[in-house]
């Protein structure tokens, strides 16, 4: 079972001081949070991708590569990578590059985004959201598995004799999670490919989450990737902790009350009842999250949102200390109790290499150069045709 944190990279005014961090401060804070996550013993750091204020993370692979260089064990992921508006060719290239630099400590979570205008800004139509996710991922999947791709689709320029470089590290593509809250089609997509399914349930009740996960598990088995309880499931979560639970509520309430998205709406008490948000003692967080598997089955990845709504860096680092010292070690033990041996852990590069029967150097060498014009495809042919 993997535990980690995810950041949406919002630049929000701290309501207790009236001050918002600069972009420079926030970007550095994200790096500090990620390295701290490793230091306190968490497994995963995932970073969002956005293309509008108040978010700073437009280019997650740049940030994640930097974090990779400053960590040794931490699994790096995204929350989410926009499969709808990014060119799948660039996703293939960028994340393969990151995978090499991070020695394989990379996976991705694909999503469709939550900001409507991102579609037109990137030349797409939001009404095609699902179709884009389907077609773009079908291409991305091939680009990482076939050295030379000929391809034609509805949304992007056709490809002839295209090789995405670098090839995946050890010939094994990064593991992919598909994130969706309400679209059964995306659960179906994750199941079809035998990929992971991440339900970011921070705005949903557990009953809805359970139904979506159940659908994914059912279809995972239908497509022959294993038993339903062997499907790879991740959940979102949101916590704020203090050893005195009343103090936790007192400290978090001013941030909650004016937070982007849910601020000025439900009360903290209503929201914690309806969603996984837990504000209280470490034990309360343990109790709440240890019960998640009663709803969705034994699962593989639990990510917490802890750095949004203007919470200052120091507070976030304190929260990471509590997570690492008091919460996650206990949750690891709780989640292991009664977990069947045939339920797998979340795939890592090492496990994927092992499953592939070992790693191989997947480098594709071009015969000749720009002048001779020989293609990678030609380099693979028995006889290289030269002009």
């Amino acid at each position: 079972m993997q535990f980690g944190v995810f950041s949406v990279s919002d630049l929000t005014v701290d309501p207790t001081t009236g001050r918002a961090p600069s972009e420079a401060e926030r970007i550095k804070a994200i790096v500090t949070i990620a390295t701290k996550a490793e230091e306190v013993g968490l497994d995963v750091f995932a970073l969002g991708e956005h293309h509008n204020p108040p978010f700073v993370s437009s280019s997650p692979t740049t940030t994640l590569a930097h974090i990779a260089a400053r960590t040794t064990r931490l699994q790096l992921s995204t929350a989410t990578t926009l499969i709808t508006t990014n060119d799948p060719v660039r996703i293939a290239e960028d994340y393969a590059m990151l995978q090499h630099l991070a020695d394989g400590r990379v996976d991705l979570m694909l999503g469709r985004g939550n900001t409507g205008p991102v579609y037109p800004w990137f030349g797409q139509d939001i009404r095609n959201g699902i179709e884009l996710a389907v077609e773009n991922y079908a291409l991305l999947h091939r680009l990482w598995r076939e050295d030379v791709v000929d391809w034609q689709g509805r949304f992007r320029t056709p490809l002839q004799s295209f090789t995405s470089t670098p090839r995946p590290l050890d010939g094994v593509p990064p593991f992919v999670w598909h994130g969706s809250i309400r679209s059964p089609q995306i659960a179906e997509q994750a199941a079809y490919y035998g990929d992971g399914f991440f339900h970011n349930n921070i705005f949903w009740n557990i009953e809805h989450t359970a139904r979506m996960v159940e659908l994914y598990r059912e279809r995972f088995e239908h497509y022959g990737h294993g038993r339903a309880d062997q499907a790879i499931v991740g959940l979102g979560g949101q916590v704020y902790m203090h050893k005195d639970s009343q103090q936790a509520v007192r400290e978090f309430r001013p941030f909650f009350d004016v937070a982007p998205v849910y601020g000025h709406g439900p009360s903290l008490e209503e929201f914690t009842e309806a969603t996984p948000l837990t504000v209280g003692s470490p034990q309360q967080v343990i109790d709440r999250y240890a019960s998640m598997r009663e709803h969705v089955g034994d699962y593989q990845r639990q990510l917490f949102l802890i750095d949004h709504a203007g919470l200052p860096l120091k507070t976030v680092l304190d929260q990471l200390d509590i997570l690492g010292e008091d919460v996650v070690p206990v949750l690891r033990k709780e989640m292991a109790i009664g977990r069947p041996a045939h339920v797998p852990d979340a795939p890592t590069h090492a496990s994927l290499v092992a499953a592939a029967g070992g790693g191989r150097d997947a480098t594709v060498y071009a015969e000749g150069d720009d002048v001779t014009g020989a293609s990678p495809e030609a380099s693979r042919a028995e006889e290289v045709v030269t002009p």
Partner: protein, 208 residues
């Protein structure tokens, strides 16, 4: 056959003339059903009791259990009776807030009987210029007779001497009978399972 009819009322006071009209429309529907040998069960969704939670749901996207129960009652019912007070020339904000929280398409093809109340008969066309467009957007099957009740209407039985408008009790009865006619023609509502709303990838990628 037993039909389930959800009654949405957006009256703000207790007691409420809007609730009163809603109850009369519900009774008329039950009687019209009985006259045709059909049973009609009524479930009332009184929006004033969940007004705060509706606003929270709008703000956060998270539906509390009571909001979720209300939207589910309305979207799974075989027919809906929707009644609102007329404020500033239109349905009130509470009424619109609720229907803003109903999923797109969830009322498509659902028979809906509309009612409205106001202090004076001057607002009597509000059903036609404000409520009907809203339910046209929702692609509901709106009953031809909408029932508007001004305060005065609650004091009228039989025909008015001054004009030839049918009195409230007759209009209510006619509307209930029309709703039952449409309900019988449509049968029980087939509720779409949101978790089954996908195309299999075998089919989608042309391999099935």
């Amino acid at each position: 056959m037993t039909f389930r009819v959800a009654v949405v009322t957006a009256g703000l006071r207790e007691p409420s003339s809007t609730r009163m009209l809603a109850d009369r429309l519900a009774e008329a529907t039950v009687s019209a059903g009985a006259a045709r040998g059909e049973q009609v069960e009524i479930e009332v969704v009184d929006l004033r009791t969940i007004a705060g939670a509706l606003t929270s749901a709008l703000m956060s996207g998270v539906q509390s259990p009571e909001v979720s129960a209300a939207t589910t009652a309305v979207t799974t019912a075989d027919a809906v009776i929707a009644v609102t007070p007329i404020f500033s020339g239109s349905y009130n904000g509470l009424f619109k807030t609720f229907f803003d929280l109903v999923d797109d398409g969830a009322l498509a093809g659902t028979p809906v009987l509309l009612g409205a109340t106001a202090g004076t008969p001057r607002h009597s066309l509000a059903i036609d210029h404000a409520l009907r467009p809203l339910f046209a957007y929702l692609r509901a099957l709106v009953v031809p007779t909408g029932v508007f009740a001004a305060t005065d209407d609650f004091g009228q039985v039989g025909s008015r001497p001054a004009d030839d408008v049918a009195p409230l009790d007759q209009r209510v009865e006619r509307a209930g009978a029309e709703l039952v006619d449409i309900l019988l023609a449509r049968g029980r509502k087939q509720v779409k399972d949101e978790f089954a709303d996908f195309t299999s990838f075998d089919e989608l990628l042309g391999q099935g």
